[in-house]
């Protein structure tokens, strides 16, 4: 694993910025005035204790939740809230904490489904599955095979994902997100429930995605070792508020973070 770059000027322009975002469900405040940005090409970690609002933050970014106040700037477009379809169109892909795969479909079909936005052949050709429609299928299959090679899941191409072990399902889900060729990839606990070896594999994939495809990544993770090693910058949430933001080293030394998240040290 590489050393995190502490030099902020090396980072690209701002890809996504959330400003003063507040979200509440009835009386429960999930997020209170949270602001941070994600720059092009970086790996940005969002950490915090359970219930800190990390997943809510991702849900706001890709449009599942509409915040009550605040602004979201993505690729220079300012809006009050995102919509899932607009987010997908704009190039935001996402994986889930508790897997959201299409369980009845094969690995191949799951990843191919990730290319839904890139396939356009009309209904008529689909009826015939011939000519342009078949051409398009083959063309996208080729791209999907690249992803399958990259994630080393060639052996399970035609297996229904519902029957795969958890670690592989996580990988297929990453594959589906990659099939969208996203500009921003949101990973919600990509390593939850994995053993050390699987975590190392997944870390390697995340770094490779970031470096080979130049994809910007925002990830939520509880494994501090992984977070500190992988990410360029870390934002720390607690009770829906941002309590720290900076490089892993800065965050590690922050008094509030130590108190809120890593536990009191006496």
């Amino acid at each position: 694993m590489r050393a995190p770059s502490s030099n902020e000027t090396a980072l690209g322009e701002v890809l996504l910025a959330v400003e003063e975002v507040s979200l509440s469900f009835g009386g429960v405040r999930a997020l209170t005035g949270v602001s941070f940005d994600i720059r092009k090409g970086e790996i940005r970690a969002i950490i915090g204790p359970n219930g800190a609002g990390k997943t809510s933050m991702l849900n706001v970014v890709n449009g599942f939740y509409q915040p009550q106040s605040g602004r979201i700037t993505f690729k220079g477009n300012v809006r009050n809230s995102m919509r899932p379809y607009a987010a997908a169109r704009g190039g935001i892909a996402r994986t889930f904490q508790n897997l959201a795969l299409f369980r009845g479909m094969t690995t191949l079909d799951n990843i191919l489904a990730g290319r839904a936005l890139k396939m356009h052949r009309g209904f008529f050709w689909q009826l015939l599955r011939y000519g342009p429609a078949l051409q398009e299928e083959v063309e996208h299959r080729r791209r999907v095979e690249e992803i399958i090679d990259f994630l080393e899941i060639a052996a399970i191409r035609k297996v229904q994902v519902g029957r795969l072990p958890y670690g592989l399902q996580k990988r297929v889900e990453l594959g589906r997100a990659l099939a969208m060729e996203p500009d921003l990839l949101l990973l919600d606990e990509p390593m939850a429930g994995m053993n050390l070896e699987e975590k190392e594999d997944m870390s390697r994939f995340i770094i490779d995605v970031n470096q080979q495809y130049g994809t910007t990544i925002a990830l939520i993770e509880h494994d501090m070792g992984v977070v500190m090693d992988l990410s360029d910058r870390v934002v720390v949430l607690d009770y829906g508020r941002k309590i720290a933001d900076g490089t892993p080293d800065e965050v590690k030394r922050d008094k509030d973070v130590i108190r809120a998240y890593l536990g009191e040290t006496h």
């Binding site: 479909m105 839904a116 052949r121 689909q126 599955r129 299959r141 080729r142």
Partner: protein
């Protein structure tokens, strides 16, 4: 032993993505088509064609229609019977208004009317799912049934209140009406069912099929990869209702030769739903299996006592058939909740590795 894919290498993605990538499957399909097109017409008597094969094919098509909606897209519908009815009544009106157009064209075109109605009643599917959607489609069932009975224009003001199928010819051969032979009707039904099954298979294996299944398996994730749920669901309603509509039109024009509104009652909806569930949700072949089990099995059972000379009154035999079929359905569902298509798949897998267990 014969069913092996060993040595059948695929050198391009198109071949690997074919609907039947295994040679033996392609041979099997060819054999079935030859039997259906050559053997049955040669040996088939009126009973075989008219009582078994024509209805079996029509029910299969209706089951495919419902399967596209319920099995592939995960939208439960109880309005199948009514959507079939829309097809039948649309076909009657079309052929009444334009009697000189080929009836087969009208049978297919009536699907579009059914499609439109299906989309209309599919509109609530954006907001509601599962049982609640089933109740919404139930409303469609009752409303449409009411229309079939209360709007005399739909059945051409006939005294009986039933559809009376007029005589229509195609190149001088009677296609519909009392003088049409069961052979011509069988061939017409067979051709339509084969063609539409082929199209359905194309749809579900491609982009649209994947979109439907994505919505079925995890609609949130589907939305996130850029699938517009509403459009996708409505498309499923449209295509599904088209199939049901054509099946309904064929049922009246190429099988019954006349029908009352009660043919399209809720019983019909349930019957098709059972076929889909027992055959296997989300499989096309399951639709045929389900239709065979629910429709052909009772007929076969009813014939057994007579053929073996068992002294049993017809009424008793009828009752016994219900009991046996009901028991069989329960057995099948307990043994394989995923339907006959899954059993078929397991069987194929076993054959593939035979004589080894795995």
């Amino acid at each position: 032993m014969l069913y092996r894919e060993v040595g059948q290498y695929k050198s391009n993605y198109a071949a690997d993505m074919a609907v039947f990538p295994i040679l033996q499957d392609r041979i099997g399909i060819a054999v079935i088509l030859v039997i259906a097109y050559v053997v049955f017409p040669l040996i088939g008597n009126d009973f075989l064609l008219n009582t078994i094969l024509i209805p079996f094919l029509i029910f299969s098509l209706a089951a495919i229609g419902l399967n596209l909606l319920t099995g592939y897209t995960g939208l439960l519908s109880l309005g199948t019977g009514a959507f079939m009815g829309v097809g039948a009544y649309a076909c009657l009106k079309l052929t009444t208004i334009f009697p000189h157009v080929n009836i087969l064209i009208w049978i297919l075109a009536s699907g579009f009317f059914s499609s439109a109605i299906g989309v209309l009643f599919g509109l609530p599917s954006l907001r509601i799912k599962g049982f609640y959607l089933a109740v919404a489609t139930l409303a469609a069932q009752f409303f449409l049934e009411w229309c079939f009975i209360r709007i005399p224009w739909l059945y051409n003001y006939s005294v009986s209140g039933a559809i009376e199928v007029p005589l229509r010819t195609f190149m001088g051969i009677p296609m519909t009406g009392p003088t049409a032979t069961s052979l011509t009707r069988y061939l017409a039904v067979l051709t339509i069912v084969v063609a539409m099954t082929w199209v359905a298979s194309n749809i579900v294996h491609g982009r649209i099929g994947r979109m439907w299944m994505s919505v079925r398996d995890m609609d949130l994730a589907a939305e996130l990869i850029g699938i517009r749920l509403f459009r996708t669901k409505l498309l499923a309603f449209a295509v599904s209702s088209f199939y049901c509509g054509v099946a309904g039109a064929m049922m009246v024009f190429l099988w019954y030769g006349g029908a009352e509104a009660e043919v399209f009652a809720i019983d019909q909806s349930f019957l098709i739903l059972f076929m889909v569930i027992i055959g296997g949700l989300g499989t096309l072949i399951g639709s045929f299996f389900g239709s065979a089990l629910i429709y052909i099995l009772p007929i076969a059972l009813r014939l057994i006592p007579a053929n073996f000379g068992i002294p049993i009154r017809p009424a008793a035999a009828e009752q016994l058939t219900f009991v046996i079929v009901g028991a069989l359905i329960i057995v099948f569902l307990v043994v394989e909740p995923n339907g006959l298509a899954r059993l078929w798949q397991i069987g194929k897998q076993k054959l593939r590795v035979w004589p080894f267990p795995y």
